[in-house]
Symmetry: C2
Subunit: 467 residues, 2 copies
């Protein structure tokens, strides 16, 4: 998916804001360890941990070791050592303008030592409330561009949430654009960064057998479900402000819908892929205020209010939207996006139902199982062996683990970091996509904020289909 006409510059300086935080500890540092172990990091690659707390490289490495151990792996001492040699700490308050001089000096010095320009990657592993100020300060301190002659790049890597509604998202997009151009901003969507998204794209565009049926003439419905069995796992303040619609539907599920239904890009590179994805998102009719009752369902698991200590909470832990894609390929196909916590199973799936128009034959389904056990399954009717003519649904399935062995797939953070290092934006979200997605759900956000009307209290363990 790389347009690798001439080899891009990969050498770089990765600045992680929040190196002592939970995200860095649990995901970023272990992902860097895995990349180092597989010798995927460029030779010239330094990691600068920025933090206002005290930190030491050996303690960070101990943290990686502990994290690996928790997932049943043993840390390789040589890998830890070589990763340690790339790591250094810059103590700073990322909201304080004065502290950026020191950071800049560190980066300049690292380049001067080598006598080259290096790409600069700023990873914001910090609370979204301070994205704005930090990005402003990166801009005003001149860290928003690489060193002279444009030989190197400056890139910003940010995690969701990208705003809380259409208005705040628009503001955030504009604020970031003051300091960084769209080309420099890597908005992370972990569902896209999993193998999944690419598996779907390869499946769709490399296999002509299914292309003929990928349209309203053959698809009778499309449902994307992200079901979790866990609750909010103690993230009270975060979840009370977010809810299922913002946490999953506006971003992950709409992105999955887009890659499942967008037209084939003329070239499978970042710009063509994003153009098709945006075209698809724009073809989804935004839900109108007067449609919210019939197009959106919300639920909250029993016990949630006690858990968050707010007896009046109307935050939804389950959300379902019914959407229409009003283009020639999909018009009229009912699209359902749904997600929830404390449901009966952990399962993320994209299911297309196929029926022959005008035929009474039962429908077939094609399911992308995203987790667990990623794979693709087609449910078919087959004849039961025997002298009678009974049919039974059977599964024709392909499992990545079965076909490619139990080798761990690169996790989303390894992918995100590597794509940031090589500057491939294909699996990131553009500002247009973010805003178009918010536009689709904005009325629902607003209507749900007004009252608790229609909020369904469901028992933990309920199947999504029953809510």
């Amino acid at each position: 998916m790389n347009a690798a006409s001439n080899e891009p510059l990969m050498s770089g300086l990765l600045v992680v804001f929040g190196i002592t935080g939970d995200l860095a500890h649990r995901y970023l540092l272990p992902a860097l360890y895995q990349l180092e172990r597989q010798k995927l990091l460029p030779d010239e690659f330094e990691i600068i941990g920025a933090t206002r707390r005290s930190a030491e490289v050996p303690l960070l490495l101990d943290g990686i070791e502990a994290e690996l151990k928790a997932s049943g792996q043993t840390a390789d001492p040589a890998t830890l050592a070589s990763l340690g040699r790339r790591l250094r700490i810059v103590t700073m308050d990322p909201t304080k303008a004065a502290d950026y001089a020191n950071l800049k000096a560190t980066l300049d010095e690292l380049e001067n030592e080598r006598g080259v320009c290096l790409n600069r990657l700023f990873y914001l592993a910090i609370p979204p409330q301070i994205y704005g100020p930090v990005v402003d300060l990166l801009g005003s301190s001149g860290l928003n561009s690489g060193c002279q002659h444009g030989a190197a790049d400056s890139r910003l890597m940010v995690e969701k949430p990208f705003g809380y509604d259409l208005t705040s998202a628009t503001e955030l997009v504009e604020r970031l654009h003051h300091s960084f151009s769209e080309r420099q901003i890597f908005r992370i969507d972990h569902y896209l960064a999993k193998e999944t998204a690419q598996n779907i794209l390869v499946f769709r565009f490399a296999n002509p057998i299914f292309q003929a049926v990928w349209n309203r003439q053959h698809v009778t419905s499309l449902t994307i479900t992200a079901a979790e069995t866990i609750g909010i796992e103690g993230r009270v303040a975060f979840y009370e402000n977010v809810g299922a619609l913002r946490d999953f539907v506006q971003n992950h599920l709409l992105q999955l819908l887009a890659i499942t239904t967008m037209a084939e890009p003329a070239v499978l590179d970042s710009s063509h892929t994003h153009a098709e994805k945006l075209k698809l998102l724009k073809a989804i009719t935004p839900i109108q205020p007067n449609e919210v009752t019939q197009r959106a369902v919300r639920g909250q698991y029993r016990g949630y209010r006690e858990e968050v200590g707010n007896p009046d909470s109307t935050t939804e832990t389950f959300a379902r939207l019914k959407l229409d894609i009003s283009n020639n390929t999909w018009r009229g196909v009912p699209v359902t996006l749904q997600t929830g916590k404390r449901l009966n199973e952990r399962s993320t799936t994209i299911t297309l139902t196929f029926g022959a128009s005008g035929s009474s034959a039962p429908a077939n389904t094609l399911t992308f199982r995203i987790q667990p056990n990623e794979g693709i399954a087609v449910e078919l009717l087959a004849k039961e062996p025997g002298l009678d003519q009974h049919t039974k649904p059977v599964e024709m399935a392909f499992s990545y683990a079965e076909s490619f062995g139990p080798a761990p797939q690169p996790n989303a953070y390894e992918r995100v970091l590597m794509d940031g290092i090589r500057g491939d934006q294909t699996l990131f979200t553009t500002s247009d996509e973010v805003l178009t997605s918010w536009r689709i759900v904005d009325s629902v956000v607003k209507e749900w904020a007004k009252s608790s009307d229609g909020l369904i209290i469901y028992e933990p363990g309920t199947p999504a289909a029953n809510i």
Copy 2:
């Protein structure tokens, strides 16, 4: 697939000509045992073994026991005993007119004892050379119809070969029609009577997901291969006169092609199914004499001539035909039928290759595996796990054994007998189908008889694709 509007008469008298022969011993009697064991035989059902040799019921039952033992099964004494009670022997020379009076008396008596009319099924487990005389005598002795009021039926069950070329097949069809109408004749094709044929029909017509691509717009080629590792297994006289084209292509492979490509019958009953199958066979352009060299390939395994003791034998043990189906659905799709003995594997498959027209994307294949391990497999391209964009062919598969358990499927003879008993002709071959199939290959038969030009001598163990 039964048009079961009113319950058909199943009670009957099965007359097996050749009860002491190899076919009866190895297949028919064990199949009757299995039907008895599963309590599928009608209450009123007698089996009359006709033979010119001496025979005794206990010896036939011993034969069943031995046959079961050879396939690792233990005979159930109660089943053997109840089957034995249905069995009786009529000693007769089936080519002698005078002997039919006794046979008729036996059948009449069995009906008189019960005071009912029973269906009469005549199974010709005898050499094809005497099909003609036996059928003539069944007709002239009045055994070609059931007893009065048309309440019962008389049916003729015959094995291949149905003629040796178009001329002899036409003669045989006409001769049989002197005594039996088409409705009464059950021409057995074991490939249709396996579960396979019905599995293909169910797969095709019960699953809309594949119907959209089942045509020339999406299928780029269609190949049916019946590969065997065994040689002619001592059947010297038989095989020298037949060869691979007559033994497999004219019947089994053309039948498989027909059910794979025919249009969906308006009703899945015998008459609609046969009408669509015949329409398809008629759409196949018969090979012209001047096309034989380019459309037909023949081979003979090294060692065959020694095996049959004929140093000049030109009998083919491998045959391949390239055919065109000249209708709107399939025109231009290259169709290959091929079969051979002493090849590198035992495998019968129907493979469709799919490509997007005008796309450079690699092709997909969909394969019906008929044996071994019957099932359906789609070869897809999937992304190899990892940070790069490599794809690899993987299989999405469905196996009958895996889905339905290792329970033995009814074998072809159980099916054939049950369908004969209930009068369902769906899985048998009509005279029109037989003659149309001969018409397709007749030029090849004739050209190959003229000389040994183009006969390829192949080493045992060669893959079909290399011949």
